[in-house]
């Protein structure tokens, strides 16, 4: 750990450029996985057999493929099929798709936890499927879904490091590049770990807040 502070000051600006990419990848794939997850979950609970089956199989396929293979596929195989993605695009798309499966299961559990009487009450005042979802089910499901959603955010932040395997110069890859050119493995990776931790802690506190709120009622 010799000269840790000295190294920290020196490498900090480079690592910060990695942090910026880490945040972009995390937020991008979080948004994508949320939208896709909602779509899969809605298909699952739509009551239409075909939609529900398509969604269930899709979720299983996505869950059965490692994130890293999905990333390789998007980045290295898609160009052969005529679709060329930048490394950043492939990373956001890959992580977004991979996590959409977990998001979908989480959303579905939240939706199904809503008392059937709520849905009947909505129907009895003439609400259709979509209005029932929008006005009655989803607002109540959010409360249930938020704590696990927060956990997914933390996992995505950390898994964004897998984007390094397809050359996205995010925090982990920047760390690796500095370490391999300076041989200061200990100082560099300690610094990288601390930076991930710094980003995780607010999220961990957020989850705790969500859990307290969900437990209140």
């Amino acid at each position: 750990m010799k000269g840790f502070w000295h190294d920290a000051v020196e490498f900090f600006p480079i690592l910060m450029s990695g942090v910026a990419l880490t945040i972009i990848v995390t937020i991008g794939s979080l948004l994508l996985s949320t939208v896709l997850g909602l779509v899969w979950a809605m298909m699952r609970v739509s009551g239409i057999k075909a939609l529900s089956m398509i969604s269930a199989s899709l979720i299983n396929v996505i869950r059965g493929i490692p994130i890293i293979v999905l990333l390789f596929y998007l980045y290295f195989v898609m160009p052969d099929l005529g679709v060329t993605l930048s490394a950043l695009q492939a990373a956001i798309l890959g992580l977004g798709i991979a996590y959409s499966a977990y998001q979908a299961e989480n959303f579905r559990a939240g939706i199904e936890a809503i008392d059937k009487g709520q849905i009947e009450a909505a129907q009895s005042i003439g609400m259709g499927w979509w209005l029932t979802m929008r006005r009655v089910v989803l607002p109540q499901a959010v409360r249930i879904v938020l704590p696990p959603y927060g956990n997914v955010m933390i996992m995505m932040l950390k898994d964004s490091s897998q984007a390094s395997t397809i050359t996205v110069a995010e925090l982990a890859l920047q760390g690796k590049l500095i370490a391999s050119s300076t041989f200061k493995n200990t100082n560099v990776f300690t610094l990288v770990a601390l930076m991930y931790l710094t980003m995780s802690i607010p999220l961990i506190l957020l989850v705790r807040h969500f859990e307290k709120r969900a437990g209140k009622k």
Partner: protein, 243 residues
């Protein structure tokens, strides 16, 4: 106004309705009584399409009830329902619960609906609870909000599914007196209930259901005071004198 013709309904192997034929006239209060599992609630749930039926026909003001047809929305906006366990929306205030249907389903003007919502809450004695959330209210208060929510739709009839069965005994009276007032004002009501006193004093007609059929029906006082069928006699004896 509400007509049922030879309605059959099965849950799997279990036939719960074995040919129900009945009608409810405008302004009439009809109580449905009978042992649990006799199919009373299922009849109500079929009338507003919460449950499908296998055979026969149900119509409301000449409109066929078919839960898979778009017209079901028209049926439901004309026939409101009050549930045993209230089913108020816990994430909305009392007033929001009441105005939800008129505002978002019937798309009536906001100011007018809010005004009507407050009047209805006053009618059920809960004007001061408008901004409370349902979980903060007692069961009796919640059920009165549910009645206000049903009334806010300006329905032609209201179905009550054991509205006092989930209430503490001392809270039953408040709900029944609100219902009695509705009946006096000429609301068409179909009430599944175990409150024989209410049925006798308020209902015009009583249907006694057992085993998925109407065993006996008639004017409330006559049927409850001098039941003709042995099954009705037996049921009433057990309800009125449980010991």
């Amino acid at each position: 106004m509400i007509e049922l013709k030879d309605v059959h309904k099965s849950f799997g192997q279990n036939e719960v309705l074995k040919g129900i034929t009945a009608n409810v006239e405008k302004g009439e209060v009809v109580c449905i009584v009978g042992p649990s599992g006799s199919g009373k609630s299922t009849i109500l749930r079929c009338i507003n399409g919460l449950e499908s039926y296998d055979r026969g026909e149900i119509s409301v003001e000449g409109l066929k009830v078919d839960r898979d047809a778009p017209s079901i929305v028209r049926v439901r906006t004309q026939v409101s329902m009050v549930f045993q366990r209230f089913n108020l929306f816990p994430h909305r205030t009392v007033l929001e619960n009441v105005v939800e249907g008129p505002l978002f389903v019937k798309k009536e003007p906001r100011a007018q609906v809010l005004e009507r919502g407050r009047v209805l809450l006053a009618q059920v004695g809960l004007a001061e609870k408008a901004d409370a959330h349902p979980p903060q209210l007692s069961g009796g208060q919640q059920q009165r909000v549910a009645i206000a929510r049903a009334l806010a739709m300006q329905p032609k009839a209201i179905l009550f599914d054991e509205p006092t069965s989930a209430l503490d005994p001392e809270l039953v009276g408040d709900v029944l007196s609100v219902m009695r007032k509705l009946a006096d004002d000429g609301m068409t009501m179909v009430v599944v209930t175990h409150e024989m006193g209410f049925a006798r004093d308020v209902a015009d007609r009583v249907l006694f259901i057992d085993g998925g059929i109407i065993v006996e029906q008639g004017p409330a006082k006559a049927l409850l005071n001098q039941p003709q069928h042995p099954r009705t006699q037996d049921f009433l004896r057990r309800v009125l004198h449980p010991l």
